[in-house]
């Protein structure tokens, strides 16, 4: 479980996050949704320690992260897997070297154990047999899947996904969503997905937080989001004229 408590963040005079509190539950895919510029990515960066909040704290299973020392933060980070928006695979390493990277750094696994783990992770994301390819040889969807394989290779307790569907076609997006949901259930981890993709919300949104102009505006499940009266959410969910026609009438 990850708990965000009263987090404030401003860049200069611009308030980006205003008193955000939320509980990200274990074994569920927790979604942070909102329009571009609503503070989603800043929130993610605060949660993983790339930004420090002006006020507030982030707790990993009760362990304070924000106020901890750099060494303590590094220990928590070893339990974190992250899927970046662009994949952030290491260009100079092959797929298998990318996936094995956290294992090389933090485990004493033998070579064969590492190979088994890498193959298991690549199979999990449907990339078996592509071990020797370099990131430059992969399509956008394959990069995302490879990055997901790297994120789960060291059996993380917490998985963060930043816009996992950006730049992907709807069918590949569904594959990524299904993988995230499957990994979360199989490993029993706490998954946090930052997205503004409504398909993702409806596919994997078990515990949803809606950010609006830096404020924690709404929370609920994917079923509740369709029936809410909250105007800002309705504007977000039914953004296009096409979707407005599909809006259920009360």
């Amino acid at each position: 479980m990850i708990e965000v408590k009263n987090v404030h963040k401003a860049f200069g005079d611009r308030m980006v996050l205003n008193d955000i509190s939320f509980v990200f539950e274990t074994g569920k895919t927790n979604l942070v949704i909102g329009e571009s510029g609503s503070g989603k990515t800043t929130m993610l960066k605060i949660m993983v320690g790339l930004h420090n909040p002006d006020q507030g704290d982030v707790l990993y299973d009760g362990r304070s992260f924000t106020s901890s020392s750099e060494k303590e933060k590094q220990e928590v980070r070893k339990e974190i897997g992250m899927l970046f928006q662009g994949g952030a695979l290491f260009d100079s390493l092959t797929l298998e070297q990318n996936v094995a990277f956290p294992l090389d750094m933090f485990t004493d696994m033998s070579k064969s154990e590492k190979e088994d783990r890498v193959n298991f992770c690549l199979k999990k994301v449907n990339l078996e047999g592509r071990n020797k390819l370099f990131p430059s040889e992969l399509s956008g969807g394959m990069k995302k899947r490879a990055a997901l394989a790297r994120a789960i290779s060291n059996e993380p307790k917490y998985l963060f996904c930043d816009e996992p569907n950006s730049g992907l076609d709807p069918r590949t997006s569904l594959v990524i969503d299904a993988l995230i949901k499957q990994v979360t259930e199989d490993l029993g981890i706490t998954t946090v997905v930052i997205t503004h993709d409504m398909n993702s919300v409806m596919e994997i949104g078990e515990n949803i937080m809606f950010l609006y102009k830096g404020n924690m505006w709404w929370q609920g499940s994917k079923k509740e989001i369709l029936t809410t009266d909250n105007q800002e959410i309705l504007d977000f969910v039914y953004a296009s004229e096409f979707l407005k026609q599909l809006k259920p009438r009360k």
């Binding site: 993983v48 070893k78 662009g86 090389d104 750094m105 933090f106």
Partner: protein, 247 residues
Amino acid sequence: MKLLFNIGRYFILLKRVFGKPEKFSVYYKQILYEIDSLGIGSLGLIAIISVFMGGVITIQSAYNFTSPFIPLYAVGLGTRESIVLEFSPTIVSLILAGKVGSNIASEIGTMRISEQIDALEIMGINSAGYLILPKIVAAMFINPFLIVISMFLGILGGYLMGVASGACSSYEYIFGIQSFFVPFNIYYSITKTIVFAFIITSVAAYQGYYTSGGALEVGKASTRSVVYNSILILIANLVITQLMLVG
């Protein structure tokens, strides 16, 4: 103020670079990779430049030594001293500042803007140590070898050009390069080279590590790295020369 800010941030980065490595075996492999990438990869360029520069120094020396009171073996002697004292350690380091420095700045800069450095940090890895320390160690180790090879090839190039152009005879040149040899000069050159290697890698890595934005900023960081490295190498050259040869 900006200069002080950058100097302060550079030393803070160095503190992180020399932090305890997460796993020595991984760093060891990285150092070997960087030795190949930064050092062996520069060998061809250094060889070509050294041979031609050696030849030019010999011809220019012969052209200027017109007095009948100056023996022709002074051509070999002058070529050797020019190459050992200045050309190989300083000029070759300036060339490496361009080739290796811009390579390091753009590589690390690209990793920064494509979130690869963030990925390392989130994994709990000291990204500064992992990315920069192997480059510094590799360059400080391999550059002295490159400079010694450059000295040899420069003197060889001088011999070939000197004899081929008729600037001096084979006997005079070889007699010249063996005359009045001061072993301390090699020690001085190697010391300079090691200091320059540290400057080249650390300054370039600093420029790349704090890149923000996109491809344009990576290009600017690469250019800044070459400019600052060149200036710092010239300043360090003056200081080391004063300390070791005069002071």
